[in-house]
Amino acid sequence: MRFAVDTPPSILDAHGSEAHHLANVWWIMLGIAAFVYLVVGGFIVLASVRGRRREPAEGPSRHDQYFIWIGGVIVPTVILMFVAFLTVHTGAALRAPGKNPLRVHVVGKEWWWAVEYPGTSVVTANEIHVPVGQPLEIQVDAGDVVHSFWVPQLAGKLDAIPGQHNILRFTVRQVGVYRGECAEFCGLQHAHMNFRVIAETPGDFTKWLLHEQQITPVPSSELAARGQLAFNSSACAGCHAIRATDARSNVGPDLSDVGARARLGAETVDNTPDNLRRWIADPSHFKPGVRMPPAVNSPDDLDAIVAYLEGLR
């Protein structure tokens, strides 16, 4: 399994429709900015040194008015009007409803992301599978405090605000695994509230969605079977759901496909059997202050539960 995302989350390495537009806006603005900085900065330095050998002017000079009118009024107005045009032009093109969109429902909670696909039974966490080429409508909700949904390579941010249903619209242009982050301070583990967007070909995505709907957790070994029993009879089932079992709570992340996920704890550690074991034994070791308590004490139960969860994929 690959744990890391494909590329660092640079907003200039754009792979989504909105991020692509915004990267272009950035390069245009950077060009103007560099020009303005060099010209005005040049004037500042020149103005400060050119008078060293001459006497200061008595009273106002007509050059004062030239500077103020040209440098302070006319040129900035022209530049700002262009920037305003850029703003309106780009703003109108983005986040408009597209044809035949795929709706994904994302809920930010302290400190992880619940992901649902409306119209299906699919619920997962911290990993969002999407098809490339199809317009997406990500409904961003908040389960507790304000969060912000940000996948720098795909689109700008949209806040998750309690009591509001915000919708982010964009299209992914390239297959890949992209890093997502919570961008609004949301408490103790704001730093570990990340996720990933897994963009697949439409065929792969449909396959994944079908597979998810057919998940039936039949333990593959005796150990795993013991793990399922232990999971359902311990505190685990008090918070987590696993489809088609007795574990149905939605306090913590849905674990129906946890074995297939790349990382644990909203991208805190790689999802290896060893890390999973340590995570269950003491989640605070990796993510101090995480809401999940250490709930399994006996090493036997731990082994069994890890075997069970690793098989869920």
Partner: protein, 642 residues
């Protein structure tokens, strides 16, 4: 009616008598009782710089934690507390009060007055600020320092998600500091409109004072919003009122609107006096009257108005409809224009001037180059769709440090070097000053420029750690090194202050050959400011009126000073109308502030008895204070009645 008094610097004949009328009692009674705007001003400065040092150390500790991925220098709790208190301190307890401190000391002097219009209110304003600041820090003593961010967004800061007392102390502290700022604003406004020296028509008011006029009006309209935000939050926390709880009919976004309705004007509330400092200092070192006085004053006023129409640009990602946001995006672009006008007034001033690179001027140059960059990135983040990428990333952290640190702290350092001779009568070392500037300037850019790139690389704000492999490692390390460099540069200035104490070099009354009235009296300023009231006939009195003219004995001259009196002037032309008597020292403002602080702290820690005592103290002090208002006899001490 005017006559020429001896050049400033020579003590007036009756200095002994003046001293008797104006000097505070020595020791503790004088300490708590002073109403001298200069003493209060310096007090503001010292307190604010103490907070600055603490908050700067917080920043350095955070930079150590972020210097490498997966560092364990700070726990997440500690990191969140530090960044919350870093922001809170820099905005509420350093930037605002340090500007108020300079204003307190300088505004009456630049107006040619002997004190502020309401000296006792001025003392109250300081005490309530100090107590508010201590209250915000009280959380550390109770083990629950505020950790919800300096912006304290609900519902994260509501009792459900932040159960400790830290946020309560934070909210009450905000209200207290808000009271302090509001009281100060009223004082600046009335002082400017009623206490100008005779002849100082509105068109002759120094730009620095104009910046405080706009500051004053902005504070009056903006601060109630943050007081409301913090107050309603506290109601939610203490009494379950649910203003910001969507589940119970409240609205979480309402908090953000209230907070930023103050928050963005606040940025300009900080920036305008800083720009006013530059407009004061730069012409003195360019040896030329400022170009475009009217343009600059107009720009200050325009910024004051437009700044109230931009607050939603802090909320571009909250899902407000795009059409509504476009308005705020446009307003955020328009506000660039008055700043651009000021910029080119400064350039034009230097263009035909002869610039002397003394330390204050170096810091002013640093300001120009840093503010230019911060202003340009400000235009970028005003572009609505692009802000969806930039907001809450390190790009914004870079932007506002260029503006709030570069464009406010650098002018403050320019002001320290410029007015220190006024405050103390001693010069600071130019050598240490230059060293301090260069280390600060380079350190600043090494610390904050890489943050732009970190933002572009997708690093969000307010994370206590990050993992390796995201391309953030080396930029963070560089930034941390720059942070320590900047701190070293600040340290050099502190060394400079210490050296000038050990080895004083006499400054004389007007070491920079400046044009404004604070230099028309001795340095350090005597308690009575001016033995004789200056008569103003120019926008640049000390340049155009050589030698400076003062009112003749008898009008508002030494007798006025002996009676602790100031002429009240009115109208556009500052015609003398009446006389204002400066009240003698009194500890009543301190008792009112202390009583109020006791009430709130006692309520938070459920000590009802203490609350009642506090209420009684405040009530008695207020009654006694109001009882004596307008009583002219108390203005002059009976035993010194001439």
């Amino acid at each position: 009616m005017t006559t020429l008094l001896p050049r400033p610097g020579a003590p007036p004949a009756d200095e002994h008598e003046l001293r008797e009328r104006w000097e505070d009692d020595p020791g503790i009674p004088g300490f708590f009782g002073t109403v001298d705007h200069k003493r209060i001003g310096v007090r503001y400065l010292v307190t604010a710089f103490a907070f600055f040092v603490v908050s700067g150390i917080f920043a350095l500790v955070m930079r150590v934690q972020l210097a490498a991925p997966n560092a364990h220098v700070l726990s997440p709790e500690a990191y969140n507390q530090l960044f919350t208190m870093h922001g809170t301190t820099m905005i509420f307890l350093f930037n605002t009060p340090v500007l108020a401190g300079f204003g307190n000391y300088l505004v009456p002097l630049q107006l040619g007055a002997r004190d502020m219009a309401f000296p006792r209110l001025n003392a109250f304003s300081y005490w309530i600020f100090l107590l508010g600041g201590l209250m915000m820090y009280a959380g550390f003593a109770f083990g629950t320092a505020p950790d919800g961010g300096w912006f304290a967004y609900a519902p994260l800061t509501d009792s459900l998600y932040s159960p400790g007392k830290g946020m309560d102390f934070w909210a009450i502290g905000v209200v207290f500091v808000g009271i302090s700022t509001t009281v100060g604003a009223v004082n600046f406004l009335v002082t400017t409109f009623k206490c100008r020296a005779p002849g100082m028509s509105l068109s002759r008011v120094p730009i620095y004072v104009w910046s405080f006029v706009v500051f004053g009006f902005m504070v009056l309209f903006a601060v109630p919003a943050v007081t409301l935000a913090a107050g309603l939050l506290e109601f939610d926390r203490l009494f379950d009122t649910a203003f910001f709880r969507p589940g119970q009919g409240g609205n979480a976004l309402l908090y953000q609107h209230l907070f930023w309705f103050w928050g963005h004007p606040e940025v300009y509330i900080l920036f305008l006096p800083a720009a006013g400092m530059i407009s004061t200092i730069l012409p003195v070192f360019a040896r030329r009257k400022i170009a475009g006085y009217t343009w600059i004053v107009g720009s200050l006023v325009a910024i004051g108005f437009i700044s109230f129409g931009v607050w939603v640009h802090h909320m571009f990602a909250t899902g407000v409809p795009v059409l509504a946001m476009s308005f705020f995006s446009a307003a955020s672009l328009v506000i660039v224009l008055p700043s651009g006008v000021q910029f080119f007034c400064w350039i034009a001033t230097m263009w035909h001037g002869k610039v002397r690179f003394h330390t204050p001027m170096l810091f002013a140059m640093g300001f120009l180059l840093l503010f230019l960059l911060g202003g340009i990135t400000g235009v970028m983040v005003a572009v609505l769709p692009w802000d969806w990428q930039a907001t809450d990333s390190y790009f914004v952290v870079a932007h506002f440090h260029y503006v709030l640190n570069g464009a406010v702290v650098f002018p403050i350092f320019a002001a320290i070097y410029y007015w220190y001779p006024k405050f103390t009568g001693r010069m600071l070392s130019e050598r240490l000053g230059h060293a301090s500037f260069w280390v600060m300037f380079i350190g600043f850019n090494v610390a904050f420029f890489p943050m732009h790139m970190l933002g572009l690389l997708g690093m969000p704000r307010r994370i206590y750690t990050y993992e390796s492999g995201l391309g953030w490692d080396w930029l963070n390390l560089v930034s941390s090194i720059g942070g320590f460099m900047f701190a070293t540069g600040v340290g050099v200035t502190f060394v400079n202050l210490w050296v000038s104490r050990k080895h004083p070099r006499d400054a004389g009354p007007n070491p920079w050959d400046a044009d404004t009235l604070e230099w028309a009296t001795e340095s350090p300023t005597p308690e009575w400011n001016f033995a004789a009231v200056p008569i103003v006939a120019s926008r640049h009195p000390l340049w155009d009126q050589r030698p400076m003219t003062f009112a003749e004995d008898g009008a508002y001259g030494p007798e006025g000073a002996l009676r602790r009196a100031i002429p009240i002037t009115g109208g556009l032309g500052a015609e003398p109308e009446d006389v204002l008597y400066v009240p003698p020292e009194t500890a009543l403002p301190f008792w009112v502030a202390l009583g109020l602080a006791l009430v709130f702290v006692a309520m938070l820690v459920q000590a009802q008895l203490v609350a009642i005592v506090g209420l009684a103290v405040a009530a008695v002090a207020v009654l006694r204070w109001t009882w004596r208002i307008g009583d002219r006899d108390i203005a002059t001490r009976p035993e010194t009645e001439p």
